[in-house]
Symmetry: C2
Subunit: 406 residues, 2 copies
């Protein structure tokens, strides 16, 4: 047998199993209530419309739907996306758009075209795990910036960049999730977006704006896309159909300046040639029929009711000293235990009691956040949310008692 | 505007546009006859069966088909694939199998887990361009081994490895396409496969066996999979549905020893989380109903008739001094012009006369093969093949005249 470990690349040696994927495997038990995944509710899937559209696509464009497609993506889908962005008031053209096989592929390919081993990447404390693990694969040195109630702190960002600049570090980009951040559930106000962009401009950095949840706003005023504020072509914005239509399609898209799109497409050619064609055609037709925005109304209303219910259960069941964010949209809220508590330790106890969350620490590139948890509110129904929060609150209270704090 | 070039990774700086993808763009002209792409014939797509199966899947498993899936792939599809391999007499289990988003992703992820910049990769002269460009993205130093009529020469491989070993080079794997090679159309006999494996064992190397065409055999005796010959767990074999069902699905799979599969899945998590779910479920059902092998019979008969016709047109129209391979299966044959001729120069003239091929030189990692062309015979119908070969032969004859060789 060949010794595989001896043959691995540096990148492979540093790879870890995804904490979230591993948790998802635990959850096959039907008794388990999971607030862990980032799964959309199946109730939000427009199954019968998709069925009808797919039949139509196969009847009228079967040969094209089953054939290889272009790397930049299906022409009809690209057209629908641009039209939708124009209606939103964005200034974008064909040269600014590329389709990707899920946003995760966009993160991967952007990392590939910008990161050399040892380059720095700026991220939030906390930040989306899938982003962190991809940057890690490419050997990035992660620089975590603390949050306040408005997201990534601009003052801390400025200080850190100044320090890194003096150390002659090669900083490539700032990774942000401005709307309903994963995992923190925080939305950056326009003013913070502008501050961060000003700093990016000062240090000549790119900004990766990850925007999977933007269309799922329950309340409050829509803030500007950083892509829209930026006048210098330094913001790359990633969107996806995974949270607003169906993750099983694995279709996402990004906007960026044409030079970046061109390199992105070269890199995508060697990554997967093209994204699945048939599903791109299904989505294009779905948007063309006006169904995307129509279905979003239902999804938003569904998720809002679940968030509302979860917040009220938290109020009702959680002991004193536990805090949580109140997201204006998206899929997640973030729970903070008293400093002395450790959510990593609580995890096994919670799973024993048939309730699961994601340990907040996995979202921190600096090994902090031990007293935090990410809680998903999109997947479980109202009844399950009640039961799950009750169980979770009990586990937390029990642990407080044992620690002699209650 | 940020200076994007200054921000690119080493990998991005070395990326080139895919020669084939660029050619495909030229071919939108309906007058153009293209032998360039590697496209399956749309006549081989079982559109109505796919339509019926998709409706059924959405009716019975809509919620699962549209949701995120597991990184290793849909359970039903995995089961069908294993069953099929067992029927073929292979010894494989769940732990040997992973689904990928097209074979190109498998090439990409395998490169990621094995190649550090400067590592050596062995390939054929010529070899599949998508492989070469992916290895290049990861900074591999390509070592090309000449071919004889049985594919990669074992004697030359041995000599090269001996040299590289003495130079203390880190050689990671040998990349081979044993059945109906792309682009050469050559099939390695069992004896050559065994010789190459013996050498791989001697130098403790992995073997990447790329096997997209194996199921498309027109005639001759099936040779053993290198995966099947190997008793040491050093062969990784890649298969795909792109050539036997529908490339628009972007679904492929690979077999390897469990340690490699485990690393592969970790790397795939950060590359795209999972492959598109709905199409995996469609394919699983398609195989379950026995349609894959049934449809293959038609595809094989279709491609065989096209190959036969192309060979007879070559006999009829090509001037003396032009040679070509006679593949026992697959999608491609390889044409060799007299040494003094340059197929790169002929390309523009051919496109002017509305016929296209792929310059053979793009398949050579050592800049050779200037007098070769890759010709696809799966895509065009009989009538178009006749016209295209006539045009191509005329361009070649014209060029011979100008060179004073005729």
């Amino acid at each position: 047998m060949p010794d595989i470990n001896k043959k691995l690349s540096q990148s492979a040696k540093s790879m870890k199993k995804s904490a979230i994927r591993e948790i998802l495997k635990l959850l096959k038990d039907p008794e388990m209530i999971s607030f862990a995944g980032g799964l959309p509710s199946p109730e939000s899937f427009p199954v019968s419309e998709i069925k009808e559209i797919t039949s139509m696509i196969l009847e009228t464009q079967g040969a094209q739907a089953l054939q290889y497609g272009t790397t930049e993506g299906d022409a009809a889908l690209r057209e629908m996306l641009l039209k939708r962005h124009w209606e939103q008031g964005l200034t974008v053209g064909q040269e600014n758009l590329a389709i990707s096989t899920g946003s995760q592929q966009a993160l991967d390919i952007l990392s590939r075209i910008f990161i050399d081993r040892g380059d720095c990447v700026i991220c939030g404390l906390p930040s989306y795990l899938g982003g962190l693990s991809t940057f890690n694969v490419y050997g990035a040195q992660m620089e975590g910036i603390p949050f306040d109630e408005h997201g990534m702190r601009a003052d801390e960002l400025g200080k850190r960049l100044d320090k890194l600049h003096k150390e002659n570090k090669n900083v490539k980009f700032i990774y942000v999730i401005p709307d309903f951040q994963n995992p923190a559930g925080i939305t950056m106000p326009d003013s913070r977006r502008e501050e961060i962009l000003k700093i990016a401009s000062k240090y000549d950095l790119l900004v990766l704006e990850d925007s999977p949840y933007r269309d799922i706003r329950f309340e409050g005023k829509e803030q500007k896309l950083m892509y829209d504020i930026d006048k210098e072509g330094r913001v790359i914005t990633m969107f996806t159909f995974s949270k607003i239509l169906a993750p099983g399609f694995r279709i996402a898209w990004l906007l960026a300046n044409p030079e970046i799109i061109e390199k992105f497409l070269m890199a995508k050619q060697s990554a997967d040639l093209c994204s699945p064609v048939i599903v791109q055609k299904i989505i294009a037709e779905y948007i063309k029929r006006g169904l995307l925005d129509k279905n979003l109304v239902n999804t938003i209303s569904l998720y809002k009711s679940r968030r509302d219910h979860m917040l009220s259960c938290f109020e009702k069941y959680m002991p004193d000293g536990v805090k949580w964010t109140k997201p204006e949209g998206g899929l997640f809220l973030f729970l903070t235990l008293p400093e002395y508590m450790n959510a990593d330790d609580l995890f096994d106890k919670a799973v024993e009691k048939n309730v699961a969350f994601v340990k907040g620490s996995v979202f921190y590139c600096n090994d902090c956040g031990k007293n935090t948890m990410r809680i998903n509110f999109s997947y479980c129904n109202i009844e399950t949310i009640t039961k799950g929060v009750e169980r979770l609150a009990l586990v937390i209270k029990d642990s407080m008692k044992k620690d002699g704090h209650s």
